[in-house]
């Protein structure tokens, strides 16, 4: 193994204020309530900033601002709306390094990921949907598709700015205005995005950012003047949202949890499969709703594959997210770390065998080593529940039919992976997997032109592509 010298990205590029208000109607305003929370760097537990907790009255102010802005924004020619969104895309590209560092500081993800995956995709997403704004009548939703109104959007902490882009870009392109609530542990890039809206001269009220936790989100979902609810997060909260909009005319899209099977056949290119398995479950510390958290490997190659996988895991570098050599960053919060620990302990208690490479853990911050469980049964909690951490459960199969049976044996249906060199087998598998995204001989690939979203309890609606417009149009 090579020795690596530290190669930290400088954090001097970011300017974090000691405290933030709410971004309503194009202005920074103080919250009406007393609530304040701190956002910390999960790699050091250092407090980064104090964040306002928006109350119901604050959410109401934001929705009113969005409602007022809707009249002008929706009536604006699509070509003009497009230019605002293009501007936003360009400013994101200009400030990409700063935003990547800010994201890694607040979220704990390696700078290599925020720099090379998150930020390029964020800019691309705005660029893609900007182009739709003046072409909606060609999108296949009728000659004159109309926006819905005010969109209430709630996003998770695993890809803070990317999820913001997935929500805001199509909403604005279709002529809606938005009130967005970032996750309470990762609000900083959304607050930086508010500044970007100002730099782009976006009309006040078109984008409003309210920070806070579940109660703020609940107030946004329940607000009677919200026409559209878009949520990415846990299936548990998704259920609450689906219940609370019952009987209303609010349009809802939900992108929820997953327990994806990553299926490796004996004829697969095993070295590539190993890279795909690592990317599938250890990318972003496994904080990925579509993570390949269940490895299904054909019995005949299970030993060989596991050996190669363990060898590869031994080379992963865990540590400072700002270090450009880092593969595995920090777990986003103490609460998430506790959940990963609890489920891993359940894995051991239920009889699965646990393995992690030798992996020094920093003294401060929230960390969990890459972990593999073998001898996992389908009934084990680690095979059924979403862990949302760097923990892989390994199961085996003999026939394609058994692989399908096991892969689909979950209430989730977000994604799946298939590794084989045989085209007909790949397509046979792809057609039988009950999942919204199937990656074959690759994993965790995203693109603004490509629809993403789940089957079953992984939610409904699609984000990305032409399909993603439907969520923001009255049909």
């Amino acid at each position: 193994m090579f020795e690596y010298a530290p190669a930290p990205e400088s954090r001097a590029i970011v300017d974090i204020k000691p405290s933030y208000g709410l971004f309503i109607n194009g202005e920074w305003v103080e919250p009406l309530g007393e609530g304040r929370e701190k956002t910390v760097n999960p790699a050091s537990e250092e407090v980064l900033a104090e964040i306002a907790v928006a109350s119901e009255a604050d959410v109401d102010r934001a929705v009113q601002a969005a409602r007022k802005a809707f009249t002008g924004w929706s009536a604006m020619p699509g070509s003009e709306r497009a230019k605002y969104i293009f501007r936003i895309a360009r400013i994101i590209q200009e400030r990409a390094r700063e935003l990547a560092v800010l994201e890694s500081l607040d979220n704990g993800k390696p700078i290599r990921e925020s720099r090379d995956v998150d930020l390029p995709l964020v800019a691309a997403h705005f660029f893609y949907y900007a182009g739709w704004a003046d072409k909606l009548s060609y999108a296949g939703f009728g000659p004159s598709p109309q926006p819905l109104g005010v969109a209430g959007q709630i996003i998770p902490w695993n890809f803070p700015l990317l999820m913001l882009a997935w929500k805001i870009a199509p909403a604005l392109a279709c002529g809606n205005t938005v009130v967005l609530k970032p996750a309470e542990t990762t609000p900083l890039t959304a607050l930086a995005f508010a500044e970007i809206c100002r730099q782009a001269d976006l009309p006040p009220g078109v984008v409003n950012i309210v920070t806070g936790a579940g109660e703020t989100g609940g107030a946004l979902v329940r607000h009677p003047d919200v026409d559209k609810v878009a949520f990415t997060g846990s299936t548990e909260v998704g259920r609450l949202i689906a219940r609370s909009v019952a009987g209303s005319r609010k349009k809802v899209t939900l992108e929820l949890g997953g327990k994806a099977a990553n299926i490796v056949f004996e004829d697969a290119a095993l070295d590539q499969a190993v890279e795909g398995i690592v990317n599938g479950i250890f990318f972003n510390q496994g904080h990925v709703c579509c993570a390949g958290s269940r490895l299904l490997v054909q019995e005949s190659v299970a030993d060989e594959l596991l050996e190669a996988l363990k060898r590869r895991l031994s080379t992963l570098r865990l540590g400072d997210p700002l270090d450009k050599n880092t593969d595995i960053g920090a777990i986003n919060s103490a609460a998430q770390l506790a959940k990963i620990r609890e489920l891993s302990e359940a894995g051991e208690a239920e009889g699965a065998e646990r393995w992690s490479p030798a992996c020094p853990i920093p003294d401060k911050g929230f960390w969990f080593p890459p972990t593999i469980f073998t001898g996992v049964a389908q009934s084990h909690r680690i095979a059924r529940e979403e862990i949302f951490g760097p923990v892989l459960s390994v199961l085996t199969f003999r026939t394609p039919a058994e692989a399908i049976e096991k892969a689909n044996n979950t209430p989730y249906g977000l994604s799946a992976g298939v590794w084989t060199e045989k085209g007909s087998l790949m397509l046979w598998m792809a057609s039988r997997l009950r999942a919204g995204v199937v990656w074959s001989n690759t994993f965790n690939k995203f693109d603004p032109t490509s629809p993403f979203g789940g089957y079953k309890e992984s939610g409904y609606g699609r984000e990305g592509g032409r399909h993603g417009l439907e969520a923001y149009l009255a049909l």
């Binding site: 019952a246 009987g247 792809a430 074959s440 693109d447 032109t449 490509s450 993403f452 699609r462 592509g465």
Partner: protein, 288 residues
Amino acid sequence: MSERLAVRKTYKLFIGGAFPRSESGRSYVVSSSKGEFLANASKASRKDAREAVAAARKAFPGWSAATAYNRGQILYRVAEMLEGRRSQFVAELVDADGVGVRKAGELVDAAVDRLVWYAGWSDKIGAIRGSANPVAGPYFNLSSTEPTGVVAVVAPEAGPLLGLVSVIAPVIVTGNTCVVVASERAPLPSITLAEVLATSDLPGGVVNILTGSAAEIAPWLAGHMDVNAIDLTGADGELAVTCEEAAAENLKRVLRPPAAKVDWLADPGTERMTAFLETKTVWHPIGT
């Protein structure tokens, strides 16, 4: 010579391709629009609903894997069988719906035409709803439609034939299977329609029809964990809210009741198909 006494039909449920009575042994009186006794219809229970869901689930793998061409032909066959029973349905609609013979004829014709229209969609909806996506990388990237699964359908109270056909056809043409709660007031045409379905090469269990109280049965279907979606077209007010709340438990796709009264004779659009379709996106690297 005395007039011959007619042989009446016993109206039962339609589950898994068979016509069982309700396991509960219950029935209820169905009257014509003028208040005359027409028949005793089966009053389905919660257990009947569960049997129907099991039948629909069992039929799903085969029906969803059938070729689109095959599904289209079978829907067209349903139209042929319905056409052949035109006079029977006209008579039933006159009794059930209080419409005149002429209007009833129009409604039956429209139901036949609606089936033909949807039959043709079987191998076309994928072309207008799928896409080849130009991703920024060396990947083949294709999105295609797939059926959602088992769909519970609360059929409209009004429109015992045309309304019923208009909610069933779009659900099954794309490969879903369904459990339908028929119009409570006018359930008899639904069971006669079941006889049409049973003789149209439609595999048993693809369509299951329950008669009885929607308020009693629909919430069980809405809360059933093996139902993937629910069409609340015929559920009004409180019932629709109750069902939508129950549907949240396993995140069913919900088609809410229409905001305005539906004109079943109008162009239906594609919404009733797309509400019960999933989009699957497949990625594969391109390389040598």
